[in-house]
Symmetry: C2
Subunit: 350 residues, 2 copies
Amino acid sequence: MENEKTNSKTITIYDIAREAGVSASTVSRVLTGNAAVRQDKKERIQSIINKYNFRPNALAKGLSDTSTKTIGIIAADVRNPYYSALFVACEVAAEKAGYSVSLANSLGEKEREQAQLDLLMQQRVDAIIQMGGRVDDLITDDAYAEKVRNVCRTTPVVVTGKLDKAPVHSVVIDDAMGMSIVMEHLIGLGHRKIALVGGEMRVNSTFLKYQKYREILAQHGIQENGEYVVNGTYDPESGYEATNKILELSNRPTAIIAINDFAASGALRSIREHKLHVPKDISVISFDNTYITDLVMPKLTSVDYNYDEYGKILIEIATQAAMGGETDSIRMIKPQIVIRDSTGPVPKEK
Amino acid sequence: MENEKTNSKTITIYDIAREAGVSASTVSRVLTGNAAVRQDKKERIQSIINKYNFRPNALAKGLSDTSTKTIGIIAADVRNPYYSALFVACEVAAEKAGYSVSLANSLGEKEREQAQLDLLMQQRVDAIIQMGGRVDDLITDDAYAEKVRNVCRTTPVVVTGKLDKAPVHSVVIDDAMGMSIVMEHLIGLGHRKIALVGGEMRVNSTFLKYQKYREILAQHGIQENGEYVVNGTYDPESGYEATNKILELSNRPTAIIAINDFAASGALRSIREHKLHVPKDISVISFDNTYITDLVMPKLTSVDYNYDEYGKILIEIATQAAMGGETDSIRMIKPQIVIRDSTGPVPKEK
DNA sequence: ATAAGGATTGAAACCGATTTCAATTTTAAT
DNA sequence: ATTAAAATTGAAATCGGTTTCAATCCTTAT
């Protein structure tokens, strides 16, 4: 009942061996190139392989090799251009290193994330890269931390972000530096009334940015205005609402830092509806430098992480770990600002 | 040299069996639930499984089952929200059906696409879904068609689009109907000078739209203006340039149909730079209804395909085909218009 | 022509599950 | 208490590769 495919029988290494009049071992040797085979036999076997377009069963290979040359990737949501950019960068880098990747989306659900961790482990991927998602919850959720620790026991895990609850490898964006660059850019343009839009403080990367924001304000002798910081959920609608609140203040800021490009697009809409102009009346800057920066008007100044490089590093660490490299490594990604049309000099006081 | 992981030995069904004092067969039976096991033994085994957090090796399982419960998906580029939306819809639908998915991006390169087809076949996915990509080239590229035919011999392939060169299953968007809806919407608003922006005629879905566009113009007795049709490459920049050309015509159109939301965003920019307003001076409508429609100003009227439903159908066909269903099925997706702020009544002649 | 040495080769074991088949244990019926 | 029928169980084969190890085949030097 199960296997009633009408497909032609899939051909195996034994079929090739029989037709070539050699043993399966010999066919395997030409397949892997791990050992010498006499030239004429090699050619004969190769031609039969070509004739049938034979491809060795990756399951059997992985079972015997104990390596699948596959890296599992769990992303929060590839519909977010930040993750899709990073995923594609990983895929390309992996391919260069002779690995393929397999993607799963956690969609921000802890249960999905754990199920996917399990699944990838079962599939015997050589390493798992976890981008975003509910990693931050590990700090509070012990059962979850235990699960990750368990996975780490058999499969190396690389996480984008920091994590002390489990022996994972980390690649972290220097969020403080990112905020620092943003603040210096704005302050250099004369801004002193700077608002922060979007983000949840329980998310580490957001919290680090906030800390730096305060630190730099202090450095420049600027009094922090609590009303200028409005949390949100990283989407356009939330950026829109947060900005609405801010623009209704009697003492409006002259610059808005959005937690990501999505929130910034919402901010732009709110600003437009308040009949203000960017960057003449108010500057907007954001993080992630996704293609969204190019779609909205004006084009957004944003903080970039060099996704190609970022992906390359993730894959590098993952493959090294897969080959038994040391655990607990940590690498930093240095952000860079990409200046477009949404930031400009502070407007003159009237 | 190869296997110098310091990880603890991965535990197998035999380890569980030994500790439970039963045979591996019995452990397997509680794992799969395919056969009865005495209650007390079952519980003992289950508790040992839990104790070690044991997960059966999916490679070994797949090898013995001849089903991996995995569906391979090849997308043109998940960075495009059309594909990411469809991919996530597939992932969710697959999960409900007890399958997992594995994603590869062809990035519009024929060689990558073929390599990925090969790889997925080697990984013994139960079916392959190919979304977009160079499928259209199959019509002209015989070597490629031969490759696909070869894959089809062992693994069912589901394609988004039509294809007679290989025995694949098809899910196609009714592009003609989409264009029809768009045209009726615009004509209903009084527009008669309607331009078409972006797209390459060699791409079937684009060509079908163009055909319907002409057909409907004719139906309404509107003379086609060749200058109103400007091809492009589906990205913002291309939509921008095409629209620039159109807006420099002496006899400007009052509505622009963009081939997708990206092109539409470029069109909006061009229109803005020409000091025109949407939809007061000119209406803009596009295809795909991605989240981009929500980011730009004004929000875009666009044609939606109900991605959840679309993904569900793709997975349905893929899983049925995997279980030996008939080949060569074809399903149609009916598009729907989502009206937002970018389309309005034709401006009064001055 | 022959022995030593290296190059090729195949048989068999292994990777970790599932499943068939026959044997054994339970349970139910008489 | 017996026996037939039903429920459990384990041994062994299988899935399709890779690799070890011992055997066989060539070379080349003597």
